[in-house]
């Protein structure tokens, strides 16, 4: 497949992912509202908010890094998207595999941190004390999430002897009994638990912590910057769900399957968030170092021996 058509398909895929991410976020808000007995926001609200934010007339800046923070975050999200095989079609160079290559798993793990570090530097230049608090909490929690997640992903890589997501998905084809969820349940358990931290809903939402530290790193951001961050958030939420889908739930063979699976993965974190209140930072770090890390190490040992 030539590069031009690949690029066109990647752009179409990106459009689907942005809109699907926004729809997921509004559904999350709707479920929260229904649980509280309210109607909740209309379904068009994220798109209207985005349009409103882009059409803000005045916009202030705090310096170069402040500009670059949201750009880094968006490029982190798009970076994950570009190297992620979205739909398994049996052809490594197929329509929706994007620019997936041998070893893309490592690159995607890197891109997860990339956007976060960009935001940390950008909001640091914003100079608001709550931004600094949000960033400190976010990085501490991210480090705690990354450790079990990386060990569990290593377990999967050892199991299939590859760092290519496409090959991991290929090895899981042919029925749900081939999913990593069943072939390596401990690594899967570690990923499913670490996923809660990676998606950042309650009880692990103390990075943003609304009503406590305003909204954390984004406190000083407004207008177009905020619009950028909202679209980046939508992309990252879908891509995290797709990553976990590819790793342990056998990938997807069509867009419909992708949407159903990513919806269920995302809503695992939403349902947990509806039930459990927010953890403090020390509680969440200790929690990640206890259960997910233990499962991940057992999973790695299972895969190695």
């Amino acid at each position: 497949m030539d590069i031009t058509s690949k690029l066109i398909y990647a752009l179409i895929g990106l459009l689907i992912v942005v809109n699907w991410g926004m729809l997921m976020s509004v559904t999350f808000r709707k479920i929260g509202a229904r649980m509280a007995g309210r109607h909740g926001i209309p379904f068009r609200q994220p798109w209207v908010n985005l349009l409103k934010n882009i059409s803000t007339r005045t916009i202030i800046t705090h310096g170069y890094m402040y500009y670059l923070g949201p750009v880094f975050r968006l490029s982190g999200g798009i970076g994950i998207f570009l190297f992620m095989p979205m739909v398994f079609t049996g052809n490594a160079d197929g329509l929706w595999t994007n620019f997936s290559f041998q070893g893309d798993l490592i690159l995607i793990l890197y891109f997860q941190v990339f956007g976060m570090l960009g935001m940390a530097m950008g909001s640091g230049e914003g100079g608001h004390p709550y931004s600094a608090m949000g960033v400190a909490r976010g990085l501490a929690q991210h480090a705690a999430v990354e450790l079990p997640l990386t060990i569990a992903i290593l377990a999967i890589a050892v199991q299939f002897d590859t760092f290519s997501i496409y090959k991991i998905v290929e090895a899981q084809q042919g029925g749900f009994q081939n999913w990593v969820l069943f072939t390596n349940p401990f690594a899967s358990a570690a990923i499913i638990l670490a996923m809660l931290g990676a998606l950042g809903h309650s009880p692990f939402n103390l990075v943003k912590a609304p009503n406590e530290i305003l909204i954390g790193p984004a406190t000083e951001y407004e207008g177009t910057y905020l619009g950028f961050m909202m679209s980046a958030g939508a992309i990252i939420h879908v891509m995290e769900a797709v990553l976990f889908m590819n790793l342990i739930f056998g990938g997807a063979t069509s867009w419909i399957e992708l949407i159903i699976k990513s919806f269920l993965i995302y809503f695992w974190s939403v349902f947990v968030g509806m039930v459990f209140p927010r953890f403090k930072i020390e509680q969440s770090v200790i929690w990640f170092f206890k259960w997910p890390l233990g499962f991940a190490i057992i999973g790695l040992l299972m895969a190695s021996f």
Partner: protein
């Protein structure tokens, strides 16, 4: 420069700035906001003026709306996504929490609370406004991005209400910041507030909610009014 010398220099400067504070009794600037010299880690001396170094020194400008259909479309988006700053100024703020409960549920109209002025475009002045709070209101209002809207809740914002002869509250809000929508009553019920939002939405859709531009146009007049009533003006004139 050795560490001892540095310490000496610092304490000398501190004494100087304290003496400055004592001499200028009329000035309301806090000691930490004084114009002073600071020794940088490399030994060089830097002059800093906290009050002006950290803020903008540019007057707000009038921002012309776009043309025709584009502005109409954007105004529709603005009217359907009103982000209210969570800042209760007076007793009227007790009427705002019910709006997020199942009974009134303002979210279905696209109205949301937002914790920071940078991200909100509507500001509810809820009830009486003391001079002390007015100072904070002005600073917050100027930090909000344009287009921004003010909803004045309760009679106190119109003519002072039951506090009309109080020594510490203002009577007419309109003299200090431009108001888009008034909601009369003491206190107005949450339904009245929802009606106020509906009214504001209609104004935005009609392109009539351009009070941020009015503020920029009559900036000097508004500033003169504000300075007349705020006696301890220890902030820069333009602070967004």
């Amino acid at each position: 420069m050795s560490e001892l010398d540095l310490n000496d220099k610092m304490s000398e400067m501190l004494a100087k700035s304290e003496a400055n504070v004592k001499n200028s009794k009329k000035d309301f600037t806090r000691p930490e906001d004084e114009l002073r010299e600071v020794v940088a880690p490399d030994g060089s001396i830097i002059k800093i003026n906290p009050l002006y170094d950290y803020f903008s020194d540019e007057k707000p400008k009038e921002e012309k709306p776009r043309n025709g259909v584009v502005e109409k479309f954007l105004n529709w988006a603005r009217s359907e996504s009103i982000w209210v700053l969570g800042f209760g100024t007076g007793c009227g703020s007790i009427e705002i929490p019910p709006l997020v409960t199942p009974r009134f549920d303002m979210f279905r109209y696209g109205v949301e609370m937002r914790p920071t002025p940078r991200q909100s475009n509507a500001f509810i002045i809820s009830g009486y406004l003391s001079v002390k709070t007015l100072k904070r209101v002005i600073r917050t209002y100027e930090q909000m991005p344009s287009p921004k809207y003010i909803i004045a809740l309760g009679s106190c914002t119109i003519n002072g209400g039951m506090y009309y002869d109080s020594y510490s509250t203002i009577n007419r809000l309109d003299k200090y910041i431009p108001v888009d929508v008034y909601i009369a009553g003491c206190m107005p019920r949450p339904e009245a507030l929802l009606h106020g939002f509906a009214k504001l939405k209609q104004l935005i859709k009609d392109g009539k909610a351009e009070k941020a531009n009015e503020y920029a146009r009559n900036f000097d007049e508004y500033k003169a009014n504000q300075k007349k009533i705020i006696k301890d003006w220890n902030m820069p004139d333009y602070n967004w």
